[in-house]
Subunit: 327 residues, 4 copies
C-alpha cells in the first residue's frame, strides 16, 4: 500500500463499471442473459483500454449468477454448460495436445484454496496417455495438473515453479485457476471471470510478482477466477466514500455549502491514514469473506473442474475414458 490508496478489484467488469469516463476507445462490451445468469464480455482492444481498466489486452468473460451463493442444483448444471461453452469459444477449436492446469493459492486459507481444490478434481491423463486405445485417443487430451503453493509456504515464486514445469513438459495450453478479490460484496462467490490474458502481478489473493501469461510462459493461457474476498482496506475505503456521499447529498439538500467544502477537502491522504488506523497493525493485509466460505468453495471448485473436464475431453466418451483411466 503506497501513500495513496487505490481500490482493489481483479474483475475487468468492475474496473469497467468504476470507470465513469464515457470515452470507450479500446473497450468493447457485450452482454447475454440466460434466466438468472448474466454473461458480460469485456474486450480490451488497445493500449488505451488497458490503461483505463488496468488490465492487459484480451477478452474477459464474466458469468454472474447470484444464485451461486446458495446450493442450487438447477443453476449449477447451467453454469457448468455456460462456462465450458465459453472456454471452448476462447479455445477457438484449436487442437491442444498437451494441457497443464495450474491451481494458484494457499490451500491452508479457505477462500484462497479454490485453485488447489479444482486441481484435486480435474481429470489427469498425461501419465496414462500411452495406454489409451487408439479409438479413444481423439476424445482424450493429455492433461497434467499441479498446485504450486504460495511464496510464504515454499519460498518459491509461483512463476519459478510454473515456468520450470513448462520448460520440462512444453504444454501448448495452460489453465490458471485463482481466487480473486472483488470490490462489491454482491459479487463474492457469485461471479466467475474467464479470460485469455493470464494472471497479472498482484492479482488474486496473494502477491504474485511476475505475470503468468502467454509472453512469459510461451503457451496459450486461459485463466478462471472467482472473487472470494474483498480487501478489507477496500471495504473500509468504500464505506467512507458511501457515508461521505450521503453527507454531500445532505449538504446540498440543506444548502450547507460551507461544510460541503470541508467534505470535499478530505483528501485521499486523510482517508488513507484513517484506513491504516482502523486496520492497524494489518494495513493492507486483511480480507473480508462470508461465513459459509467453506461450502461455497467446495461447490465452485466442482463447477470449474467439471467445466474444464467437459471442455477438454469428448464428453460422449467420458465414461469410456474413465473406465480406461484407472485400469
Amino acid at each position: 500500500m503506497e501513500d495513496k490508496f487505490s481500490v482493489r478489484t481483479d474483475l475487468a467488469l468492475e474496473s469497467y463499471q468504476m470507470n465513469k469516463d464515457s470515452n470507450l476507445d479500446g473497450i468493447e462490451i457485450k452482454t447475454q442473459s440466460f434466466d438468472d445468469i448474466q454473461v458480460t464480455i469485456v474486450k480490451i482492444t488497445n493500449a488505451n483500454g488497458e490503461k483505463k481498466l488496468s488490465k492487459p489486452i484480451g477478452n474477459y468473460i464474466t458469468i454472474e449468477c447470484p444464485k451461486l451463493v446458495k446450493n442450487n442444483v438447477k443453476y449449477r448444471e447451467q453454469i457448468i454448460k455456460i462456462l465450458s461453452d465459453n472456454i471452448n469459444k476462447l479455445l477457438e477449436n484449436k487442437k491442444h495436445d498437451n494441457v497443464l492446469i495450474i491451481g494458484l493459492g494457499n490451500w491452508n486459507i479457505t477462500p484462497d484454496a479454490l485453485g488447489p481444490k479444482v486441481i484435486s478434481k480435474v481429470l489427469v491423463t498425461r501419465h496414462i496417455k500411452n495406454f489409451i486405445p487408439d479409438e479413444l485417443k481423439n476424445s482424450v487430451r493429455c492433461v497434467s495438473a499441479i498446485s504450486p503453493g504460495v511464496l510464504g509456504i515454499t519460498g518459491l515464486e509461483t512463476f519459478e515453479v510454473v515456468k520450470g514445469i513448462c520448460e520440462k513438459t512444453n504444454p501448448d495450453l495452460i489453465f490458471v485457476i485463482d481466487s480473486l478479490a472483488a470490490r462489491s460484496s454482491s459479487r463474492i462467490n457469485s461471479t466467475i471471470q474467464l479470460s485469455n490474458t493470464g494472471i497479472s502481478p498482484g492479482a488474486g489473493m496473494g502477491n504474485k510478482r511476475v505475470a503468468l501469461d502467454k509472453k512469459t510462459l510461451g503457451s496459450e493461457i486461459i485463466s478462471i477466477g472467482v472473487p472470494t474476498v474483498i480487501d478489507a482496506a477496500t471495504l473500509v475505503n468504500d464505506t467512507m466514500d458511501k457515508i461521505l456521499d450521503a453527507m454531500r447529498d445532505a449538504c446540498e439538500k440543506n444548502f450547507e455549502r460551507d461544510f460541503l467544502d470541508t467534505l470535499n477537502n478530505i483528501d485521499s491522504m486523510q482517508k488513507y491514514s484513517m484506513i491504516k488506523n482502523i486496520l492497524d497493525p494489518y494495513e493492507e493485509n486483511m480480507f473480508v469473506t462470508p461465513k459459509e466460505v467453506d461450502e461455497v468453495i467446495e461447490r465452485l471448485s466442482n463447477i470449474i473442474a467439471n467445466a474444464i473436464n467437459i471442455s477438454l475431453h469428448n464428453s460422449i466418451n467420458l465414461n469410456d475414458i474413465n473406465r480406461f483411466i484407472c485400469k
Copy 2:
C-alpha cells in the same frame, strides 16, 4: 441482526472499555505487566456488572501480546507460562480427576479452526489411564478431547453433543476452546481470553444457541478464546462512526452548528441500512481476518495446547508420561 445494529465483541475487556459509564458497581479490574505482555483481569461480581458488560458473572483474564501476531519464539514460551499459571489460578488447586476438552468451531474455515487444532495437540490419556504405573498416577490427569463440529456440518447443536458426552463420562472439569470475534483489529490474534464462565449463546464465530456453562453442563468450566476475526458489519459500523466523529470535530472547529445537527440526526436505523447495503447479500454473515491467518492459528493452537498440557499434568514427569503413554 435485528433492526438496530449492535457491535459485536466476545472480549469482556473490550466490553469494559466500550463502557463509558463511570459507575463500576459489579466490575473489578486488575492489571499486570510482563515485558510486552499485559494481563488484565475483569471480574464481574453482580447482576449490574453482568448487564453493563453483557457477560455473565465470573472472571475474565485477558492476556495481550502484540508480538503474538509474529512468530516470536521468545514471547511464545513466556505466554505459555502466563497462560498455564492463570489456568492454575482459576482451578484453585482443586484436584480434578476427569477432564474433558472441547474444541468448538468449524475445521473447514481457517480462522474458526482454532478449537479443533488445539484438540489435535493436547495430550489425551483417558483410554490408557488404567495402564499407567502407580508412581505416575498422581502426575497424570485423565483427559479426553473432542471437536463436536458445527450445526451447519452435523445438523446437531453443539450443546446436544457436549451434554450427551458429559452425561456418559461425567467430567469434573471442562475446557472449551473457541475462536472469538473482537471489535478492534489490534486485538486479532494477539489476545487470549481465559474465563471461568463458559461460552454464552452467540459467542464465538458460529451461532451457539445454548450456553455451555456450569449450570447447563454440571461441571466446572474454563473457556479459552482468541479473537481471530472482526464481524464485517462491526467493522463497517465502526468505520462510519470514525468518519462521523471526524466530521463532528470539523464542525465544532468551524462552528458549523447546523451541520452538526444533521450529523447527530443520522440515527442507528440509517446507519444499519447503510451497513446492510454495503454487505449485501451477506448482511451479518461476513468476517474480516488477516491474510496470514493460517500460520497464526497454527502457532496459537500450539501455545494453548502446551499451556493446557502443562496445567493438567505434572510437568516434571511429562517426559515419563509421554514415554508411557504410547507404549
Copy 3:
C-alpha cells in the same frame, strides 16, 4: 491376540464361505446377479447360525463388484442404485422421521477414513427442517451426521459419544458406516456389506469394545461397511496355510507319509509364534492395503453417500430440496 490365532474377517459372506460344515441350520443364502455385480444375502436366523458365523442374528447383504477397484463410471451408477434399493428393503417402508448417520474410523489413516468421508458428503437437514416449506416436507427426512473419532484420538469410547447423542436427539434410525477387514485380497475395496445388525465389538479397523446395535442404542440400525484392509497377521497365517497345503499335496502325490505327519503336527501354537516373529514388534497391529487406497476411498465414499441420500429423500424432489437447503 490370544495364544491361539484366529483369522479376522468382518464379512458374513466370508465367514459363511470359510465354514465347511454342511449343516446350514440357522443360515439362509440367496444370490442375485446384475451384469458384473453379484448380490448375496446371508440371513442368520437363530443362535446356531450366530455361533457358526460369529455374527449376530440378522440380514447381511453383500454387493460384490470387482470393477469397483477401478474408476468405472458405468458400474458406479448401477451400484448406487443397487445399494439404495437394498437400503430401502431393509427399511421396509417404515417412515423414519429422525435419522442419525455415524461415520466410524480414524480420519488420519487413509483406509480407515471411509466413514468420516461419507459423513462429509451426506445431505444434513436437521438444522433447517423447520424452514422447509410444507409441500417438500414429505420428501425430506430430518438427518444429522457425525464422525465421533477413535479412542486413540479422543480418549472416548465410540459408544459413549454415540449413545450420548442418541439420548439427546432420539433418532429412530441410525446408519453406521465403517471400514472393515476382509480375509481375501480380492474383496478389498470391491465389496459393500449392508446389514441390519449394527457393529459388534472388534469389527472394523479399530477396536470397538461395546456393540453399536438396536439393543444398546434403542433405534433401528443399518450398517454399511467396505473391507479396505486385510489384517497382516491373517495374511501371514493364510500364506502359511497355502504353502502347507501345497506341501501336503506334494507329500500325498509322492507317498511321503512320514513327512505328512510332520506337516500335520505343526500346531497352531507354532504357527502363531511364527506370525508374531514375522510381524515383530507389531503383532496384531499391522494391516495390508492397496497403494491406490486414496482414490478408492474417495470413490466409495461418493457411492455410499449418494445411495444414502437417494434412500432417505425423495429423489424426484432432490433438486428442490437442495435449492431450499442452502437458503
Copy 4:
C-alpha cells in the same frame, strides 16, 4: 513385477545384511552406539559394491532406534541431535547458500505422507532473505521447500517438477525426504536412512522412474528416508521362505531326504505364482503398515524437520531468526 520375484528393500543396511557373500570388496561398514540408538554407516566405494547391494556408490547412514515406534520424548531429542550431526558430516562444512528441500510422496496416503509433512514443518527463508539484517545473515541459509506430488495425482514425473525448479532457482544443496519400504517389520518407523546419493528409480513407496541425484540435478544432494511400509509381496515371500526353512530343518532332523528334495525343488516361479494368487488382483500393489501410522508419521516428520532446521541455521540464533522471519 517380472516373472522372477525380487524382494524389496530401500535400506542399504538390509541389502548388506541380506548379502551372505563374504567378499566385501567395495563395501565398508562402521557402527556406533548411543544408549538404545545404533548408527551404522555403509560405504559403497566401487562398482562391485554397487552391484552387490543394488545401490549407487555413496555413504548410507542408518540410525536405528526401536523406541522411535513409541512416543518417547527422551529419545526424540537425542535422535534429532544424532541426525543433525550426521547431516553436518555429510555436508563437510561446505557453505551452501541456496538450499532446496523436496518432500516426495503422496499426501493422501498416510505412510507415504512423510515427505510432504516434513515440508510443512521446515523453516523456509528464501523469500525473506533480503530483509534479514546483516548481523544475522551468516546464521541463516536461504531455504525453499516444495512437495511435488506424485505421478498419479499430477500426471507429472517428480523429476520434471524438481528439475524445472532447479533450473530456475539453482540450489547448491538439495534435500530429498521420502517414505521407504523395508523388508523387516522391526525396521518400520524405527529407522532413519541418510545418504548422499539421492533417490534411485523405484525407491520409495511410489514409482519414480528417473533418479534424483547429483548427476541429474546438478547439485549436492542429501536424502533422508524412513521405512514406513513393507511391500506385501515381500512379506508373503518372506513368510513362505520362513516356513520352508522350518520344513527343511524338520526334514534334516528327521532324515527325510526325499522330501528335502521336493522342498528344494520349489522354484522361484512357483513361489511367485503363489504370491500373485494370494494378493490377486493387486499383485505388487499392496503394502503393509502399522495401525498407528498416523501418530508415528507426525512424530517422525517433527524429528526430521527439526534436525534439518538445526543443521541449516545457526541454532544459537534460531530465536532471533524466528523473530525476524515473520516480521
